[in-house]
C-alpha cells in the first residue's frame, strides 16, 4: 500500500501501471466529509489543489464553477452535493481531474486518502437497500482493511443530462 501526500499535485496515471497485472486494481481514496470513496486511478488524469473557482451563475448547486488548470478550463463538480450530502463548512481543497467527451471536469473532495491496490476477490456488488440517489453514482464495493469502500462511477457523476 502506497501513500499519496495530499499536498502534492500528482499525476496518477503513472501509478496505474502497477495495478491490473496481478489481478489487482488500484484505487485512491477521497474523503467527502467523513465518508470515504474510491476512484479508479486509471480514470483520473490529475489530482490538484483547488485554487480560485469562478462560479457560474444560474447553474445547479453541484457545479462549483470553472477552474483554470494550467491554462485549461475545468468544470468543477462538488462531490458532496452530487452525492446528496449536506454542504460542508469549509470549501473543498482537493480536485480530481477527468476528461469526458473532450471536456475537462474535476470532482471536488475534502481530502485525498491512501492509494489502495485491491484484488478482484475483495469486490462485492452493491447491496440492494442502499439509498438509490447515492448508489446511482457507485459502481461497486471493495472490502479492505478500513472497511467497505464504495467505488464511484465517474461516468455517471459527470453526466448531467
Amino acid at each position: 500500500m502506497s501513500h499519496v501526500c495530499p499536498h502534492n499535485v500528482s499525476n496518477v496515471t503513472g501509478a496505474a501501471a502497477s495495478g491490473g497485472a496481478d489481478g489487482k486494481k488500484t484505487f485512491f481514496t477521497v474523503y467527502v466529509g467523513e465518508d470515504i470513496y474510491g476512484l479508479d486511478v486509471t480514470e483520473a488524469q490529475a489530482i490538484f489543489r483547488v485554487g480560485a473557482i469562478t462560479p457560474i451563475p444560474l447553474m445547479k448547486k453541484e457545479i462549483a464553477g470553472l477552474i483554470n488548470l494550467r491554462g485549461r478550463v475545468v468544470v468543477a463538480v462538488r462531490l458532496r452535493q452530487r452525492l446528496g450530502a449536506a454542504p460542508g463548512n469549509a470549501p473543498e481543497s482537493i480536485a480530481i481531474g477527468f476528461e469526458r467527451a473532450g471536456e475537462r471536469f474535476a470532482l471536488l473532495a475534502d481530502r485525498v486518502g491512501d492509494v489502495l491496490a485491491l484484488p478482484d476477490s475483495a469486490r462485492t456488488a452493491l447491496p440492494p437497500h442502499f439509498d438509490a440517489a447515492q448508489s446511482r453514482y457507485m459502481r461497486e464495493l471493495y472490502k479492505c482493511c478500513v472497511g467497505l469502500i464504495p467505488i464511484l462511477d465517474v461516468e455517471r457523476l459527470l453526466d448531467f443530462e
Binding site: A52, T54, P55, I56, P57, L58, I63, N68, G71, V73
Partner: protein, 739 residues
C-alpha cells in the same frame, strides 16, 4: 475518409467554382480565349484525378465537358446553350462530389442525360437544350469540329498537365482545420501564460528577467499574428461563386447585369467567410430583384440597360467592410413608410418625423416586404432579418444607404477574426464578467436611473433605456450598492438596453473559448476566457441579456402593439399629475373633460363605488392605481367616453405640457399604456379605457348609473376645453379648478 479522397474533394470543389466563374466570363466576352484555356485546364485536371481514383461517372462528365470546351477553343461559335450545358455538367459534378463525400464512392446511376445532351449539341442536333432567352446568334454547325476536338484533347494533355503546376507559384500545403485549431488553442494558452508571467514580474520586479521576458512577449505576439494569418483566406473564396449567381438571376429575372467585383484578395478568417456566404448571396438577389429596374425602365430613366451590381471588400478600422451596391431605383422610402404604418409598426405621427434613413431600418424587420409580387428570388419578406442576425452572430453589423433613383448600398462590417475580441470587464457582486465590446455603446454613471413600474429605466439624453441590475439577473448575492455604480449601455439589433454593474474594471483583448455542453442552456453566457491574472471570467451574451429582459428582437409584434396603443391618443397637450408614490403620470388633455378639486366630503360611497357629485349627478370615481391610502381629497379628472362619464382621482396636478405621445416602453400593467419621456422625466401614460371598464364593468349591458346619466353625458359630449392658458416658453399652463 481516405486522405487522398478528401484532398480530391476539396480540390475539385475549388476547381468547379473556378470553372463556373470563367464560364460566365467567357459568356460575357466570347473573345476571351484566356478564360477558355483556364476552363479547359481545370476540367482536364478534374478528369485526370477522377480517372486516377476510379470515379467513372465524374470522369465521363468531365470528359464530355472538356470535349465541348475544346470545340469552343477551336473556334466553334460560342453560344448560351453551350455555357448552360457546361453549368449543368458542373452542377452534376457537385452532386456526385457530395455523394462521394458521404459514401466514399460514387452514387449508382449514369449521366447520359447530360453527356447525351452535350454529344447531341456537338452533333449540332440540339440548338437549345434548355428553355432560355434567345441566343445572341444561332449556333452554327459545330459538327465539323467534334471529331477533331477529341484528338486535340488527347494531344493537348501534356501541356495541360504541365501548366497547373506552373500556376501554383506560392508553395502551399493543405492543413486540416482541426490542426490549425489545435495550434490556435496552444497559442492562446501561450498568450495567457505570457500574460501571467508579465503580471508576476511586474509584482516582483526581477531585473535579469526583464529583457528575455520582453522578447518572449514580442515573439508570442508575432506567433499569434502568424497563426491568425494562417486562418485567413482571400475573399475570392466567396466572390468566385458570385458571377454564376448573377448570371442565373439575369436569366430568371430577364434583366441584364454588369458585375463589378473588387477586393477579392482581402483576407478574412475562413470561418467568417463561410458565415457571410448566405447573407451576401441574399443581398445580391435583393439588388438584382428589387434594386435594379427592368431594362425598359432603365433606358427610360436614362441609365445603361444593364444594371450594375458591385461588390467590394476592403479593410477599415480593424474590420473588413463588404459593400454590395446597385445602381437601381433605390429603396422606396414612401412605400416602406406606408407599409410600416399599415402594419401598425409605427404611428402615422411618429412616421412623419422619421428620416428616410430611419424608415429604411424597417426592412430589417422579419416579414417586412413592400414587394407587390412575390418572385422566386425574393419579396416574401424573409431574409433581411436573417441577414442581420447572421452577421450580428459573428459580431458584425449591417448598415445601408440609399438614394431614390440612383441605387442603394448595403455595408457589412465584419470583424477580422472570431477568436480574439476586445471586451469590457465589468464587476457585479464582486464577480467579474466580460462584455463583448462590439455590443457596448458606452458606460455611464447611474445618476439618471429611475424606478418605474418596478423596473429600472435610465434617462439618457433624449432616450429612455431599460436597465437591469446584472447581479439580479444572475441571481448573485445582492451587492453593496455604492455611490458610483455604472450602467453599461448596449445595443442589440438596434435596441438599446443597459446593465447596472458595480464597476468597469477595464478593457482587455480576450481569447474567447466556448462553454461546455453542460452550459448550453445558459443563454446569458456565450463563453469564457482566462484573463492575464489567470482568473476565468464568463462572457456575457448581449443577445441573451436582451432577450432575458423581454426586449423583442426577432419580431415586430411588440412594436405593432405599441404603435396601435400609441394611436389611441392624438393629443399634444398632456396633463402631468401625481398619483401614488411611483413615477408621475400623464393623460392627454383631450381625454379629460374637466379637472375638479374635490374636498374630502365631496366623495361618498354607495353600491361598492366611490361617487362624486358632478353637475347634479353622481359619477363613479376611481383611484388611479398606485395611489395609496383612503379615498379623500384630491383632484377628480372628469372623463367621458362611450357616452359615459366617470372620474379618476389624482393627488396633485403638476403641469400641462405640450409633447408628442411617443411610448418608449410598453407596459404589462392594464392601467398603464406605457412609459414615455416627457421633458427629461420618465412618466407613465394612463390607459383611460382600463378605468372605463372598471367604472362600467357591464359596458355593453345595463349602465350602472341608469339611463339618466348616459343621457346627460350625451349632452356633454362636446366638452368644454379645459380652462387653461399657455404660459410662455415653458409651455406649461396653470389649471383652473372648480372648488
Amino acid at each position: 475518409m481516405d486522405e487522398l479522397l478528401s484532398e480530391f474533394l476539396s480540390e475539385t470543389a475549388e476547381h468547379i467554382v473556378g470553372v463556373e466563374s470563367y464560364l460566365v466570363l467567357f459568356e460575357q466576352n466570347p473573345a476571351d480565349a484566356n478564360a477558355l484555356t483556364h476552363i479547359f485546364r481545370l476540367l482536364h485536371t478534374i478528369k485526370g484525378t477522377c480517372g486516377f481514383l476510379g470515379l467513372e461517372r465524374l470522369r465521363s462528365i468531365a470528359h464530355a465537358a472538356e470535349t465541348l470546351i475544346d470545340t469552343l477553343r477551336n473556334g466553334a461559335p460560342p453560344a448560351l446553350p453551350a455555357v448552360s450545358l457546361l453549368l449543368q455538367a458542373m452542377d452534376r459534378i457537385k452532386q456526385l462530389l457530395a455523394g462521394v463525400a458521404e459514401h466514399e464512392q460514387e452514387p449508382a446511376g449514369d449521366d447520359l442525360d447530360i453527356t447525351g445532351k452535350i454529344e447531341a449539341y456537338l452533333r449540332g442536333e440540339l440548338a437549345s437544350p434548355i428553355p432560355l432567352p434567345p441566343m445572341p446568334e444561332p449556333a452554327a454547325s459545330p459538327k465539323c469540329c467534334s471529331g477533331r476536338a477529341m484528338q486535340d484533347a488527347e494531344s493537348l494533355m501534356p501541356e495541360a498537365e504541365a501548366t497547373p503546376a506552373k500556376e501554383k507559384a506560392p508553395d502551399t500545403i493543405r492543413i486540416s482545420l482541426a490542426t490549425i485549431q489545435r495550434i490556435m488553442d496552444l497559442v492562446s494558452e501561450l498568450v495567457l501564460t505570457r500574460n501571467q508571467i508579465v503580471e508576476l514580474s511586474r509584482q516582483h520586479s526581477i531585473p535579469q528577467v526583464k529583457a528575455p521576458l520582453e522578447r518572449l512577449s514580442t515573439v508570442t505576439s508575432d506567433l499569434q499574428d502568424a497563426v491568425m494569418q494562417a486562418r485567413m483566406q482571400p475573399m475570392n473564396r466567396l466572390f468566385a461563386s458570385i458571377p454564376r449567381l448573377v448570371r442565373e438571376l439575369s436569366i430568371e429575372l430577364k434583366k441584364k447585369f454588369s458585375l463589378v467585383v473588387a477586393g477579392a484578395d482581402t483576407e478574412l478568417d475562413r470561418q467568417l467567410i463561410e458565415a457571410i456566404r448566405d447573407p451576401i448571396a441574399h443581398l445580391i438577389r435583393n439588388c438584382a430583384d428589387h434594386g435594379i429596374e427592368s431594362p425598359e425602365d432603365r433606358v427610360a430613366a436614362g441609365k445603361p440597360e444593364a444594371g450594375k451590381i458591385s461588390i467590394s471588400a476592403f479593410y477599415e478600422s480593424g474590420q473588413v467592410h463588404i459593400e454590395i451596391a446597385d445602381d437601381g431605383r433605390g429603396l422606396d422610402a414612401d412605400g416602406i413608410r406606408r407599409t410600416a404604418v399599415e402594419r401598425g409598426l409605427v404611428s402615422r405621427e411618429a412616421m412623419a418625423n422619421m428620416t428616410d434613413d430611419e424608415a429604411y431600418r424597417f426592412i430589417l424587420l422579419p416579414g417586412f416586404s413592400t414587394a407587390k409580387a412575390v418572385t422566386q428570388i425574393s419579396g416574401r419578406g424573409v431574409g433581411m432579418d436573417v441577414v442581420v442576425s447572421s452577421v450580428e452572430a459573428i459580431g458584425g453589423a449591417v448598415s445601408m444607404q440609399s438614394s431614390r433613383g440612383s441605387g442603394s448600398k448595403f455595408v457589412l462590417q465584419i470583424p477580422l477574426t472570431l477568436a480574439i475580441a476586445p471586451a469590457l470587464i465589468v464587476k457585479a457582486s464582486g464577480q467579474q464578467f466580460a462584455v463583448p465590446q462590439q455590443a457596448v455603446i458606452e458606460a455611464v454613471s447611474d445618476g439618471g436611473l429611475q424606478k418605474v413600474q418596478n423596473a429600472l429605466v435610465l434617462k439618457l439624453r433624449d432616450e429612455i433605456i431599460p436597465v437591469v441590475e446584472l447581479a439580479t439577473v444572475l441571481q448573485l448575492q445582492p451587492p453593496s450598492r455604492s455611490a458610483d455604480n455604472l450602467v453599461v449601455i448596449m445595443s442589440v439589433r438596434g435596441k438599446k438596453f443597459g446593465i447596472l454593474v458595480d464597476d468597469v474594471a477595464g478593457i482587455q483583448e480576450i481569447v474567447v473559448q466556448p462553454l461546455g455542453r453542460l452550459f448550453s442552456n445558459l443563454k446569458l453566457f456565450s463563453g469564457n476566457t482566462i484573463l492575464g491574472d489567470g482568473s476565468i471570467v464568463l462572457i456575457l451574451d448581449p443577445t441573451g441579456l436582451a432577450e432575458g429582459m423581454g426586449l423583442e428582437l426577432t419580431s415586430g409584434a411588440a412594436n405593432a402593439q405599441e404603435g396601435e396603443r400609441c394611436k389611441v391618443s392624438h393629443a399634444s397637450n398632456l396633463v402631468l399629475f401625481k398619483a401614488g408614490s411611483g413615477a408621475p403620470k400623464v393623460l392627454p388633455q383631450s381625454s379629460i373633460l374637466r379637472i375638479v378639486r374635490a374636498g374630502a366630503n365631496a366623495l361618498c360611497q354607495a353600491d361598492g363605488l366611490h361617487l362624486y357629485r358632478y353637475q347634479d349627478r353622481l359619477i363613479p370615481v376611481l383611484p388611479i392605481e398606485g395611489r395609496e391610502g383612503k379615498m379623500d381629497a384630491g383632484f377628480v379628472f372628469i372623463i367621458t367616453g362611450h357616452d359615459r362619464t366617470f372620474g379618476l382621482l389624482a393627488e396633485e396636478v403638476l403641469d400641462i405640457v405640450e409633447a408628442a405621445v411617443e411610448i418608449q416602453l410598453s407596459s404589462n400593467s392594464n392601467s398603464i399604456i406605457g412609459t414615455m419621456d416627457l421633458q427629461g422625466r420618465a412618466v407613465e401614460l394612463i390607459d383611460t379605457e382600463h378605468y372605463y371598464e372598471l367604472a362600467y364593468p357591464a359596458a355593453l349591458g345595463i349602465p350602472r348609473q341608469g339611463r339618466a346619466l348616459s343621457e346627460r353625458s350625451h349632452q356633454l359630449s362636446a366638452p368644454k376645453p379645459i380652462a387653461a392658458t399657455l404660459n410662455g416658453e415653458s409651455q406649461s399652463t396653470s389649471v383652473n379648478v372648480q372648488q
